[in-house]
């Protein structure tokens, strides 16, 4: 497809959505509203009952707010097969705005650090009791702002293209901010993508550290694990790759972007997903073995609480789906080369990831007293009630809904990057085989 056709085709698909799209939006909106009902029903519950809500928040953060890292990392590595998937992963930044809604009730419910062992020290007023509240909010809001800036920077040339197609007026004129495509603007845009991407990568790791420490580990007296925040971030990266693959597959099959999303993009991501799945075991094992060999009563109680005790079914599902089955399937090259198989494996990892978050967050939030010196008794499991199920369904549906609505405004395929690839790519014949030669400008 020629460059001009790419722009016309992608913009047309952005402006005009079919009946199936609107049906999906309607269904998601209804499920989201049911989630709101579930949330209202939960108001007044004790803190221990909010574990599934916290798990949903953490899952959305893990999946959606980590997803732009896929684009950031591959862009910094300057590879070309990432071009068709770049925008699909960057667009998850908008879900961060939605997730802030989940963050507010959790901030209210998060107990003061007084009398607890946390990563913070008691400071002076106003941060004396609310240190994590202030700094966690700064980190999360910073991440959302950074994600949106990164998305805008990556999409501004496409907004300008949309502006021209829409007669130079409307929301695209506003979003393009007078972009003309001068050499200086392109240079600044490239520098900004590198800078904002690097900052996003740094901030997403910090936020994983803060969320995992303050919203789960520090709620369990005596749980001191320096590997846990790293495990949290690593599983976030795994989920980010998985959700990008699932999104690509849906865009390819349902969204009509088959021609733009070649097998190579799935194949490239599959190898990263395999590495992440292997590392899942490494990080989990490193944390587990320390507690298991330590055998202090508190250590035994903690591995009971988050792995082998009341939430064992969640742990087993998470462990099998994110690690054992994932590695067992991803080692096969024919599966890695099949977009459908990759989407199925990635979907399995996403399901496993949700169970993993539930066993961590529901367990952490289930403790009534967070100021004990150490965990002496493992409480019974808290199973989800109807409002919890509504909140989970509504939260996930809301995130997908926000993403889908964003695709109405932001082209889901990076038009300028696809056109740029055509500048560097030349078909040529090598003896009897036809192949593509790729120029490297740097």
């Amino acid at each position: 497809m020629a460059s001009e056709e790419v722009a016309r085709d992608v913009l047309q698909r952005t402006f005009v959505k079919g009946g199936r799209y609107w049906q999906a939006v309607a269904v998601l909106a209804v499920v989201f509203l049911l989630g709101v009902v579930g949330f209202i029903l939960k108001l007044g519950d004790e803190r221990a009952q909010w574990g599934y809500f916290a798990a949903t928040f953490s899952y959305l953060f893990t999946v959606a707010q980590t997803a732009p890292v896929v684009s950031v990392a591959l862009r910094l590595a300057k590879n070309h097969w990432r071009r068709p998937l770049a925008r699909a992963s960057e667009l998850f930044a908008v879900v961060g705005l939605f997730n802030l809604l989940f963050f507010i009730p959790l901030l209210i419910l998060l107990p003061s650090i007084e009398g607890r062992n946390t990563i913070w020290i008691l400071g002076v007023w106003p941060s004396r009791f609310y240190t994590p509240h202030i700094f966690d909010t700064l980190a999360l809001v910073g991440l959302v702002v950074l994600g949106l800036l990164f998305l805008w920077t990556a999409a501004v040339p496409d907004f300008a293209a949309a502006r021209e197609q829409r007669g130079g007026r409307g929301r695209y004129a506003f979003l393009a901010l007078g972009w003309q495509g001068t050499a200086r603007q392109w240079r600044i845009q490239r520098a900004l993508l590198g800078l904002l991407g690097g900052l996003y990568f740094m901030d997403v790791l910090t936020t994983h550290f803060l969320i995992s420490s303050d919203f789960s580990m520090a709620l369990v007296p005596g749980w001191v694990d320096s590997i846990y925040p790293t495990f949290h971030a690593l599983t976030g990266l795994q989920a980010a790759v998985a959700v990008t693959i699932v999104t690509m597959f849906l865009l390819r099959t349902v969204g009509g972007y088959r021609e733009y999303l070649p097998m190579e993009s799935f194949w490239g991501l599959s190898k990263i997903l395999l590495a992440m799945s292997l590392m899942w075991f490494y990080f989990w094992w490193s944390a587990f073995i320390t507690f298991w060999y330590g055998r202090l009563p508190v250590e035994q109680n903690i591995i009971q609480l988050i792995m082998f005790g009341p939430y064992r079914p969640f742990f087993i599902i998470g462990f099998l789906f994110c690690c054992i089955f994932a590695v067992g399937l991803l080692i096969w090259n024919p599966l890695r080369k099949s977009p459908a198989a990759m989407a199925a494996i990635a979907a399995m990892i996403l399901v496993g990831g949700f169970f993993d978050r539930m066993r961590l967050y529901v367990a952490s939030w289930s403790l009534a007293d967070t100021t004990e010196h150490e965990l002496t008794k493992v409480p019974a499991a808290i199973w989800p009630q109807v409002p919890d199920l509504l909140v989970i369904a509504g939260g996930l549906a809301g995130a997908v809904l926000v993403y889908m609505l964003a695709t109405r405004v932001v082209p889901v395929m990076s038009i300028w990057e696809m056109k740029e690839l055509r500048l560097y790519q030349v078909p040529r014949q090598l003896v009897r085989r036809r192949m593509l030669s790729l120029g490297k400008p740097e």
Binding site: A139, E164, L177, Q180, G181, A183, L423
Partner: protein
Amino acid sequence: MANQAVLGLYRTPEAAADAVGNLQQAGIGHNDYEIMTGVPYPEGTFGEPPVRHKLYVFPFMGAMIGLTLAILEGAGTQLAYPLVTGGKPILSVPPIIIISYELTLLGAIVFTVIGIIFESRLPRPALGVYDTRITEGLIGVVCTCPEERVEEVRGLLQRAAAIEVKVGQG
């Protein structure tokens, strides 16, 4: 006398490069012309000099300011509440590392945003001399010059096989 902007539109990068060459030969400074494309061509494709910018200074400055604030806040807290914890010194680095990292990062982010405003020269309320076909693949070479040189510049741009030349306010 007010400056005018002259825009030449080209179908091929070669023609646009010829137009840039013509402008350079006529002694027009590289700050007085711009190349507009719908795709980011590698620097120097049209024979233009590299674009200089100071964007990298902004996050660095922001990071330094953020780090300074974090150290002041952390150390200030330690000195204001001199509680000995675990036999460690009152004033020590490890307890303020998290805040230092976070505020350094936030400072860098805030200043990067300021940098975008300064360096990208966006938003532009009016597009000036521009052609919407640039986003569809045409290449524009726009030259800002005094009114008395407009005809000369128009000729230089036309000579490089421009498909159209437009003149407007610079």
